[in-house]
Symmetry: C2
Subunit: 162 residues, 2 copies
């Protein structure tokens, strides 16, 4: 009996320790994100070789346009990434290889602001979805330390394109 009690206590402590230490990630795709307004685009060369768009929900768009910092709770930013593919179709018309367009989707990433829930990661919940499924938590460990280098803009790299 004593052994069982100790074991239970250990399980409870471990569970608690795990909850408070591990960052929380967003595991559900925010509804309606494909209808959100456009913030900016980016092209990552090198290994990523991606092109993508950054969209924001209404709270995000208002904050970007009014340069509100920190971003208010409720802000959600979506980054839709695709392969950076040459467009044979466009290049034929241009008469030269110059045009790059989205290829197959690579992932969709989100940053969800909830300063209480995600206090351990600067108030932001991070998410990566590949084929609609959340990426393994192990692959998400780099999100916060990397974004945390953009402290001056509340961990957001993207600027609003006029």
């Amino acid at each position: 009996m004593k052994r069982i009690t100790l074991l239970l206590a250990a399980v409870v402590i471990l569970a608690y320790a795990d909850d408070s230490a591990a960052p929380l990630f967003v595991t559900k795709i925010p509804a309606g994100y494909r209808d959100w307004k456009w913030i900016s685009v980016s092209h990552e060369a090198g290994k990523l070789n991606s092109i993508g768009a950054v969209l924001g929900n209404d709270v995000a768009i208002k904050a970007f346009r009014e340069k509100t910092l920190p971003y208010p709770d409720g802000t959600i930013i979506a980054a839709l990434h695709y392969g950076h593919d040459p467009s044979a179709e466009n290049n034929k018309v241009f008469g030269q290889a110059q045009s790059f367009v989205p290829g197959a989707p690579t992932n969709i990433q989100f940053m969800v602001k909830d300063s209480t829930k995600y206090a351990a990661t600067g108030g932001w919940g991070f998410a990566t979805f590949v084929d609609g499924k959340p990426a393994p938590a192990a692959s998400m460990k780099g999100c916060f330390p990397c974004h945390n280098q953009a402290k001056a803009s509340d961990l957001v790299f993207t600027h609003y394109a006029p």
Copy 2:
């Protein structure tokens, strides 16, 4: 008196000939375009060296999503172009030169579908605005012949990014 009548007739004929021959361009920026939904992105290398986003009004978005061809009257497609600039800020965090983001805006282009008004140019009115002002008509002569090479997609090069 006879000479004046002839002169007037000549002026009327010239004006008529000019109206029917010159393509009509869109000269007013469609209201609210920066709030439209996102269709896709593109990067043009070479001389253009641009990165941009293509947005659409509700008629356009519905047509893109439902693959409606030809695009219905009322469709407006906006292409917002910027310099394809390296981001020193992002590259510092990545530890390598890989990130390209929108630099200064270069132009905003529109395609407005009105199969009656723009019948001479495939039903599309073309527009280029630089710093909010319409580009000279002479610079717009290439729009239709170039887009006309994309007849299979009703003169629209851009595909909807999922």
